[in-house]
Each structure stands twice: as C-alpha cells, then as structure tokens.
Symmetry: C2
Subunit: 599 residues, 2 copies
C-alpha cells in the first residue's frame, strides 16, 4: 500500500565506517509521526539520554516527517534530534530549505549517525549510492564556501548541510546550516556533528516526487489549506511582505520586547530595526523554502552582496537586546552567524549577557580585545560574533559556550536569560503570561517554537486572549505544545499554524500516510511526543526545578514602558500546567504514560 | 666564515598560504644564542605578547640552537616558543628526538608559523622544497598513526612532529609530539598548533652534517665533554641504567615526594613505581635522542607492545600524586598522553587535583562517567587520561584545560598545585627551599627545568647544599636559571649539566659559532634571555603577585614523613632573589635592562 513514508532509514557508524539501510517499522512511525517525535523515540530506545553529548556514544538523527517532500504547503522540513551539549537534554532543531526533501526523494526518512570518524568526513547520499568521503579540505571552512565546493563536486541540484568553525570547535552555541543560510539553529546540534568529525551531508536524488496514500484526497486538502494560508493576514500578508520581523513593532508596542538583556522591555529605536525598515532599505527579494507559499525569508543587500537576511529573533537579539539600532550591523552579524554556524538566537543573547557583565564591572575593558562590550555598539555585535564563531580569543570561546556558562563563570548565572541553559527568545514572559509557561516547560529549554502562545496572546489567532491573564493559559499552552509537536513531526512549517488548525493537519497526514486521525487523535500523538521528550530528559538527569524562569522574570517587574510593573506569574500557572498534563513534580504519572501508550 | 648557524629561517603564513625564506641576522642570533632565547626575542619584537594565545595573531616558533645537529653530545634539541594558552605568558617547550637536527640539516635554524589555515594542513620540509599539504585525513588521528602515515609518504628518514586530538581541540594541556613519543610537553603549545589547523611538520634532508666554526677545536672540547659525561655518576650511571625515574626513591626518601595532590609528601609504595622496578619488570632497552651518550629514555614492554616508557615526572604524577602504586597502569596512562598529545605532567597532576575534589565532595560520583576519581585507582588514571585527550566527556574536557581552571570551576583554585596556572612537578618546595624559588619565578609557570636546584640541593652537584636552608639559594637559583637558559638556547640537553658547567658550554658554543664567550659572558647571555622572557610576560599582563606558590606550600607544613613540619620560606627568599636579579616588584629595572643591553 502506498504511503508517503519511505519506511527506510540509513544508519551510518563513523567509527566502523559502516553504512546500513534499515527498515522503518510503519506502526512505530505512525505512533510518533516522524521528525521530532520519531527521532526522540529512536534515541530514547537506544539509551542515548544517559551518554555525554559530545562523546562518540551520542547519536545524531536527521529526520523527515511523512509530509516532507510531499506536494503540501511548506512540506520540506527536517529535524536534527540528538542529546544537546548546551542543555544536557533533548535537542530537536528544525530547518527548512530543500535538504529534507532531497533526503526524502533519495529514499530515506532518516539518517542516524553514530560513533566518531578518525578524520573529518562528509556523507554523500545520492539515491542508493551512499558514501563517506574525506572532508579534511573542508575543515575550517565557512558555510557558503563549503556549499560552493560540494556543489561544484556533486552538482548544482545537490543540497548541502554542514557545520562551520563553531561546530568544529564543539561550541555549545553551534548550529547546523543547510543551503548556506537555513539553520537547525538551537541547542548546540552543530557541536555534536563537530565532535564526530562530520563536516557535511550532501544529498541529491533522481526522484522528485513522493506518492501519497490518497493522491486525490491530498490534492483536495492541500487546495483548501493553500486557500486558508493565502487568506490569513499573517501568512498571506504580514510574513510575505515584511518577514518575521513584522513582529518588531508589534511586540515593542506592547512593551514586551526585551531590551538590554531584559533589564527593560521597550526599545525606543525599535522601528529602525523593524521588518518595515528592512524591506525599505535592504530587501532584494523574498526567500522561499521547499514548497513554501509564504516566503517569509529575506534576501538582502549587504554592502553590495546578496545574502540571507535576519529573521525577527536575531534582529531583536542583536538589536534591542544589545541596545543596537544599526540594522546594517545586525544584518552583518546575522550573516556571520550563518557563515560560522552559530545559533542566531544564542549568540546575540549571549553578547547581550556579556554587555550586562561589562556594564556591571564583571567584564573589564582589558578582557575585550579592543572591542568593548558596551550597549549599542554596532562594532561589538559584529566583531564578537566573529570571535565566537572563529574562537579566536579567550572571551569569544567562553561566550560561544552560551550565556549560562559565561555568566556562571563570573559568578552571576542569574544574568543569563535562559531556561535549562538555553537562551529565551524575543518575547518578555512578564508581559505575556502564556509564553512563560512555554519557556519554562519546553523540553529543549528556553524556546518560543514549542508552543507559540504569542499567536493567541498577541496576534489574536485563532482567538484573542488577554496576555496579562493567567486563567486558562495552562490548557492553551498544552494544546499549542501538543499541536506543535505534531507539526514538527510532520515535516511542515510551524508558520502554517497561523492559518491551519488540528483538523487540517489531521486531514493532510491521513491523506498522505493512510492514518485515520481525528482532532483528538492527532493531538494525542502530539501529547505522546511531548511526553517521550520529557522521559528522555528525566533519564538525562533533569529535575523538577528545571522547569522555571530566570529570577529576573519571576522577581523584577518590567521597570517602564507599556507593560510597566508586570511580572511572570509562573507560580500560579505552573501547577495548573502540571495538572492538565497529568504530571507530578514535572514528570508524567504512570496513569498518564499508560493513557498515551508509553508504558 | 663558517658557523654552525644556518642563518636562514622559514616564515610560513597559513592564512596567506605563503612560505618565505628569511635571513637570520648573525649578530642578533649570537646575542640570544638561539632556541629559547632567540625564539622569545623574535616573538617579543613582533608584538606577540599582547595577542590572544589561540588567535591567528599568535605565532609559533620551532627553533634550533647553534649546537643542534652538530657533532656534540645531545646536540639534537629544538624548542617551541609561543604565547601559552595555559599561562597567558611565554611558552618555550624543549624536545629531543631527531626532528630538530633534521630541520637544521634541511637548512633552517627556525620555522616561524603565523596565521591560520582554512583547512587542516601539514608542513613538509625537504631541503629547499617546502610545501603546505592537506592534512584533513590526519585530523583526529593519534601520534603513532600520524607518524606511520607520514613516513609511509615521505620516507623512513623523515622526522614527524605532530599534535594529537588534544591539540586539535585546543586543550590547554595539549603538547606537541615528535618521533611519536618525544614531547614539547608543557604550557599548551599543542593547542596553538591546533588553533592554526596545523596538524604536523614533517622534515627530512639530504645533508647530515653541520660544519662548525672550528672543527678541530670542537672535536677537542667534545672529547673532554664526553669524558665528563661518562665519568659522572648521574649521567654515566644513574640515568642510563634506571632512567630519570632513578629519582623516585631518592626524592621519596627525603620526604619531598608530593603525594595525593601534595596533601602529603611521602609515598609508602614509592619503590613499586621506581626506576629500579621499571627496569626489572618492563624495560626492553634504553632510548636515545639524536647524538645522546646518556640514553635516559625507556623503551618498555606494555602488554606485549614495545612503546616509549614514562619518565620520572609522569611516574610521580600518576603514581604517588594520585596515590597509585600500579606501575603497569602508569605505563599505560603515559602511553595515552603520548598518543593523544597531552602534557604528561599537566594531565596527571590535574587528575590528582580532580581526586582531591572528589575526596572533598566537590566532584560527585555522578560526574565521573562510571570511573570514580578515587585515590589509588589504576583504572581512573588510564581512563581519565583518555577522556582528557579525546575530550569525549564533559569532565574530561574541563580537566584538559588544566588543574587551575578545573579547581577554579569548583570555587577552590587553591587545590590547583600550580604557579601561573601551570602545574608544579615532582619535588616538594617545602622540603627543598631552592626549587621553590625556581617554581615561583619561572617565566613559564610551575617548572623544574628552568633552574634545577635539585642538583645541588638533593644530588649534591656541583656541590651539596642544605636543602632546608634559605641562605644563598636566591643567588644559586639565579645562576642555575641563567645557565639553563644558555643550554636551552644552545640545542643541547639540560641533563648534560650534571656533568658539564658554564666553561664547557662556552667552549662548545665558541668552537661551533665563533663567539668568544668566557664564563661571565655566557652567563650574561643567559641572564639576558631570562630578562627578555620577563619583558614578554610583563607585556602579556603578568603582575608582581604572579611570582608565588600555592597557599598549601606557603601555609601548610608537610604533615608527616622525613620532611615533616617543613614549609616554603619564599617570603624570605623571593625578595633576595629580586635583589640579585636587579628587579623591583618582579620586573627588571632600567639599570638592569641597560646592563643586559636590552634597552
């Protein structure tokens, strides 16, 4: 029977230099959908939770969802699932571009990488021809250069995924790039690749289509989905026109735009860094991932060079959060994150933390290699990004281990605006109560894309919620988290969820794979995924107290601006959340695990 | 006019991929002799003191002395001079084997390496043919393997210098190996090579002799020197028969053999790890460096495999200092230091510090990856050496940054038995007052081979001094330090100084190079070298308080054994030392610099 799964995986053992094809059990795949869910299940079952993240015993799973490569809107995403060196817990970082679709077309749902090479290698996949090739001449090189060299060798149609110098040096803020400017950005997944001496995976295929379970039905559901995406204000207008940075003014205007490492939450110069300004001054054209009808990507002009532009997150993190209003410098700093393979949230938020250390005298001028870490310094954000990525000075290397390790080094871990050692993104949880629950309970640490409560609390989608209220937020957060787990596991982009809901995703999955999900059923799979991640974290050593927010968010009210006086009420919402999840002390009860078929 | 200098240097810029030959100014060379002295002068003049040690702006100088490659006893040594990532000050690490002589025969006194490669490379030198070649396939590989591969390619006569996985990962305890088991061991020089993506330097030559200034005279002086070396008890008998580990029982018997991270200073089981026991149980044959008449090297049987054996220092550091009496495990741990490119003093002393952290509850069992860091554990010394070199778990990576950073991480830097962040070696400065001055004032941090006061204070050479007295020790230390600087700069081995004195070295240098040194003159050059190193350190940020000893040595008397109750009297000797040096607050006065022709 036809299904959009390949039901085939590659297992590459770098120590043994072996490459094997394995059958993916269809029932298991459907139980966790794919991507984030299935990847976590595989690693959990193989005992990875307990190993050191940078040891050869850790494994990397590059994994598609069943909708990756299908003729569905945004159906081109893959995930990197591994144990994180940043958090010591589960990492699952999502990326677009075309790499995931190419892997799917080549015939594989996933690549599991184990062990450690005895010299730098890259993996080349072309249909059944899969090889480990020497990558010594690529080691040390930046993303664009690696992309060029490997395309020269393997053809223009080949898609390249790689790490930069940051990953090679196993920095906790290292990401994995594909198509040179698309990133599996968070949780230090690039450092795991580096620890294995795996520089790149290049992928091409002769096939370019995936046959779904029910082609007619899928076409019908896709037509309806595309209509919803086009007609939705966010996916049909806001994101295509201004990119994700359309949020800059929106979030700043409600005074929940963290400024100068969250010491404030309103940035007077925000508009100078907005999506509107970016479009006006630097935009060349929109950027599209595989099969994307939205095109939130920005292709910009940087000093005469056409490069990938920054998203909302790095614009905020380099901008308001470092007190910088110079968009040209932000564009350049963001470019260096891509070239060097640094998390474009983690790197700038760590610079912001360093600036607070400097402001308060923990970091001295003599530590700063000629570029003082002062608020608002355009030079500092560019130069320190390069120092972090190249690791070419002491402070840069320390910063590349993330804000938590940096601030802890100076005895003030509380200056790190992070959860589970991963930096929080661009929404102040003091002014938006629901997103605080997401940050605190995200299995991969501080993160907005594990339950994007901004959608109802700020954008009013699917319905407006009072951002300052606590009531009902625990339940909303759980549903958003579970639905997000479904989307991440399917191979589609989270941004479709502004326009689509659980019934749409269920219908798409059913038509593609032959499942029979109703809304309740598909959300239950999402819940299962959220819980298997939590089981992974428990085995990795997570404790109940890890579900929390930085002291500043819990104890220091926003000092000024439209959300002045607000503070996170996590003390109220967290117990409610555990109750709706069926968790006690941060972990699922036996009854919950039984209900989710995880026992 | 003939001279034993080549008067030619290579300058290799890895960023620009350029290789140039430069003239070495003869007057400048003679002013600093070569090796350690000239290398420091070059780096000082080129402004290296102020740069970050692991940035492309740091430089590595591989440099011979004028006696390297000459027909003189032990004339085969070279030095690696650079800014140290461990101490942040001058590094100059000395190594034997044959690599230095090969470089000399190929036609160069030094190789200066600058910049950073854009992918791993190695440098190949064969006479005038000098090339940068890709080393991607060598990256990640251990010393023996690198040696084999490069000899396969460049011929059996080629000599290979390389870094292991520790250097690639820029660990502060990384060393540089040559001939697979000879090491430029200390101060993290291997990390600097790693930061430049330079994996190895392979060197061969068609020439195999160096013409000295006065061949007849040199032959005459060498004959006399060889006689003295043969007739001396240490160089003629002790070292050849038992290797450097002949010292184990000698130093333990005076109760100055640091035990369990210097908490005690007498190890009841020391004899089980002595040079005598090593000879009886494991020795296959003596090991000789180029033109060495002593042969202190140990070639041993390790589980049926013939490998380089441990010297006195690692035997002590892995043995008494970790409370381990299992010589077989010490042999194996030492082997892994060589294979992975770790400082065989720094690595085991850091394990000892970790064991004290474990003993006192700072390190927990769950931090230890299944191998608890308990005193006396044979398994721990082997496994943690591997973890440090491979960097395959979190604690291993932290430990590979040295005991200071390790202990500081846990808030107890005082557990690090180090000076200027470099670990002290195998002689307790509480029971031997002079060596404490050497440790405290060594320009490269805790070190015994920068003024080996053990010679008069313990071995009675050239004359016996009371080890517990302070009087006269400052003057003796200064003379030993200055003479050592001469020997290190000449290309000969420090061990010859048990038998030879300043008149011998002056005569050897005069015959080889055409200088006219008398004893006073040659010692003045040594003093100049010591002072230029100090100027380098000053520019690198050293402050007066850095000339000190760990609190334990200054405040906790030895608790038991033959030196019970003794403590370092550095408070008395250090001011005396500064006075004889002509220094104020740790740095040379203008008058001193003028006298030494350094202004």
């Amino acid at each position: 029977m036809t299904t959009s799964y390949n039901l085939k995986m590659l297992r590459v053992n770098l120590t043994e230099k072996s490459i094997k094809t394995e059958i993916l059990d269809e029932a298991l795949a459907k139980k966790f959908i794919g991507g984030r869910g299935l990847g976590t299940k595989i690693l959990y079952d193989e005992g990875v939770a307990k190993v050191d993240a940078l040891s050869p015993a850790n494994k990397l799973v590059f994994i598609n969802g069943p909708l990756t490569g299908c003729n569905v809107p945004t159906g081109g995403r893959y995930m990197v699932v591994t144990k994180s060196p940043l958090t010591g817990m589960i990492a699952s970082s999502n990326s677009g571009g075309v790499w995931g679709a190419r892997l799917k077309y080549a015939g594989y749902d996933a690549v599991i990488v184990e062990g450690k090479a005895d010299a730098p290698v890259y993996l080349s996949i072309h249909d059944e021809k899969v090889e480990l090739l020497p990558a010594g001449d690529l080691w040390g090189k930046e993303s664009t250069n690696v992309e060029e060299i490997l395309k020269e060798k393997h053809g223009k149609e080949a898609s390249v995924l790689n790490i930069g110098p940051a990953g090679e040096q196993m920095f906790e803020l290292a990401c994995i790039m594909n198509e040179a400017d698309r990133a599996a950005g968070r949780s230090g997944v690039g450092a795991v690749m580096g620890s294995k001496l795996l520089k790149a995976i290049v992928c091409s295929s002769t096939r370019t289509v995936i046959e779904p379970f029910d082609k007619e039905k899928l076409r019908e559901v896709v037509t309806e989905s595309l209509r919803k995406i086009r007609e939705n204000g966010v996916t049909g207008q806001g994101l295509p026109t201004y990119g994700t940075a359309v949020l800059v003014n929106i979030v700043n205007n409600i005074g929940s735009f963290p400024t100068r490492n969250w010491q404030e939450s309103y940035f007077a110069d925000a508009d100078k860094t907005s999506g509107e300004t970016l479009k006006e001054k630097y935009l060349v054209k929109q950027g599209y991932c595989h099969r994307c009808p939205i095109g939130c990507g920005r292709v910009i002009n940087m000093n005469g060079k056409t490069v990938g532009g920054p998203e909302y997150e790095p614009i905020w993190a380099y901008g308001a959060n470092c007190g910088v209003e110079d968009l040209e410098a932000i564009n350049e700093a963001n470019y260096w994150c891509n070239e060097l393979g640094l998390d474009a949230i983690g790197a700038p938020t760590t610079i912001a933390a360093a600036m607070e250390l400097y402001q308060k005298g923990y970091l001295k001028e003599e530590d700063c290699d000629g570029v003082p870490l002062v608020w608002g310094s355009a030079k500092a954000i560019v130069e320190w990004t390069k120092h972090m990525g190249y690791g070419d000075n002491k402070l840069g290397r320390l910063m590349a281990s993330g804000s938590y390790r940096l601030c802890d080094h100076y005895g003030v871990p509380e200056f790190s605006m992070s959860v589970k050692k991963q930096e929080m993104p661009a929404y102040d949880a003091r002014g938006i109560q629901g997103i605080g629950i997401t940050y605190a309970t995200s299995n991969r640490g501080g993160c907005h894309v594990r339950g994007y409560m901004i959608s109802p609390e700020v954008l009013g989608l699917p319905e407006p919620l009072n951002r300052l209220a606590t009531e009902g937020k625990a339940t909303w957060t759980k549903i958003f988290q579970d639905l997000t787990a479904v989307i991440d596991s399917s191979g589609m982009c989270l941004f479709t969820s502004f326009a689509l809901g659980a019934p749409d995703y269920a219908a798409l999955l059913n038509a593609a794979t032959g499942t029979n999900y109703d809304v309740e059923g598909v959300l239950k799979v999402g819940e299962r995924i959220y819980n298997i991640e939590r089981l992974f974290n428990k085995e990795a050593g997570m404790v109940a107290g890890d579900d929390t927010l930085p002291k500043r968010i819990l104890e220091e009210p926003i000092p000024s601006g439209p959300s002045k006086g607000e503070i996170s009420k996590l003390n109220i919402t967290l117990p409610q959340y555990y109750e709706v999840r069926g968790w006690v002390d941060a972990f699922p009860t036996e009854a919950t695990l039984k209900r989710l078929d995880l026992l």
